[in-house]
Symmetry: C2
Subunit: 209 residues, 2 copies
DNA sequence: CAATAATATGACATCGGTGTCATATTGTAT
DNA sequence: ATACAATATGACACCGATGTCATATTATTG
């Protein structure tokens, strides 16, 4: 956690530092990120950085929390309707939420996606007890779906969860890459469409007939 | 390319250096790999390294070529039977070949997979003209499959190619992770099975009925 | 054997990064 | 105004990496 001092900073300065770090972490893995670049871009002296954070990991952890909080807001709708929606609808909403989050917060999404791809070791270091493998969530949804009769019994839901999880990452990656190359070259609609197509294929592959 | 001197080296030494580099590149991205670690593990002096390679990228490029050559051998069967096999069979064979290659050459597969995930920039740097986006191959196969009537016209084959490509990477990653954690904890059969299940789902999702 | 070519070696200059600390500056309370 | 606390600052010691180069060793050849 950042020190009290950091939170006492005038908003403008705090934001400047935060943005510099977000820039850095969205381009570099935590391992390759450097304090030097952050302070240079934020325009603060080296000593100050260590007045605010114990080290760069401390800062990273803090930003990871911000991302978690912010992303959660995009999931309110699905989370509140897990019982009303069909299994494939739920997953569809999860995908859509992820893309919208990425559209509104491209750098944060980039950091989050980078983090998801870190090794379990690194994840554990920052999340504490690696709270459930990341694709557990899809697994639970699919399991319920199979019980509800939405999903064919022929389908191995662990595999399906693996697929949804990895396609989600691949998609968001792709989206972010599109954003950073062409600015608005490929709009969000193209990606929502792509998500749709992916879901159509997997959905078609796993649904009960 | 390595220098003549490198190729003149006694086999034992050459192999030692090669293996040290393979170890390094399979754990680290090229960006994070260091000459220092390679020479330390190979037990050669610093100056020698630069007698053999212009720099670490030179060495990396060379190993990338070795990987390409070696992997190609695993694809002989499919490549020779593109016309006799059904579209989903072809893709299945590609997956199987990839897993077998990874089983026989786990470190090389790790390097290859890491490379596939590099940015286009990096890829271009090492491949020259980024010879066709990597998922082009699946695209061509699927396109032919659609013409042959194997694949439903409802399916967007670009999306399907995207899926096959990314699932392939995710699978091999998973396989390698399993290998390095438990030695032989999860055997190759479990993975061939997983590949099967993935193909069943996507296949079921895209095939013509 | 002598001379020349090929190869080996590690000390070195240089760079970019980290975290600390003594000191300077600013803010606050009496 | 003074004293005390909070904050700011950048020089510094230290680390690990890169690529080079003068020198040493070994091989080859006439």
């Amino acid at each position: 956690m950042p020190t009290e001092t950091f939170f006492n900073l005038p908003e403008e300065k705090r934001e400047r530092i935060l943005n510099a770090a977000i820039d850095e972490f969205s381009q570099q893995s935590i391992k390759n990120s450097s304090v030097s670049k952050i302070i240079k871009n934020a325009g603060i002296p080296r000593g100050s950085f260590y007045q605010y954070f114990s080290d760069i990991k401390d800062f990273y952890k803090y930003i990871l929390n911000i991302i978690g909080d912010k992303k959660l807001k995009y999931l309110y709708y699905v989370m509140g309707n897990l019982d009303n929606l069909g299994t494939l609808e739920i997953i569809g909403e999860l995908y859509i939420s992820g893309i919208k989050f990425a559209k509104d917060n491209p750098k944060l999404a980039a950091i989050g996606n980078k983090f998801l791809k870190e090794s379990d070791e690194v994840k554990k270091e920052f999340l504490g007890e690696l709270e459930g493998k990341s694709n557990d969530f899809f697994y639970q949804i699919l399991k319920k779906g199979q019980e509800k009769g939405d999903i064919s019994e022929d389908v191995d839901i662990e595999t399906a969860a693996f697929m949804f999880f990895n396609m989600n990452i691949a998609m968001v990656d792709d989206f972010i890459k599109g954003l950073s190359i062409g600015g608005e070259l490929v709009g969000i609609d193209a990606f929502l469409d792509k998500a749709d197509k992916i879901l159509y294929i997997i959905g078609n592959g796993i649904k009960k007939r």
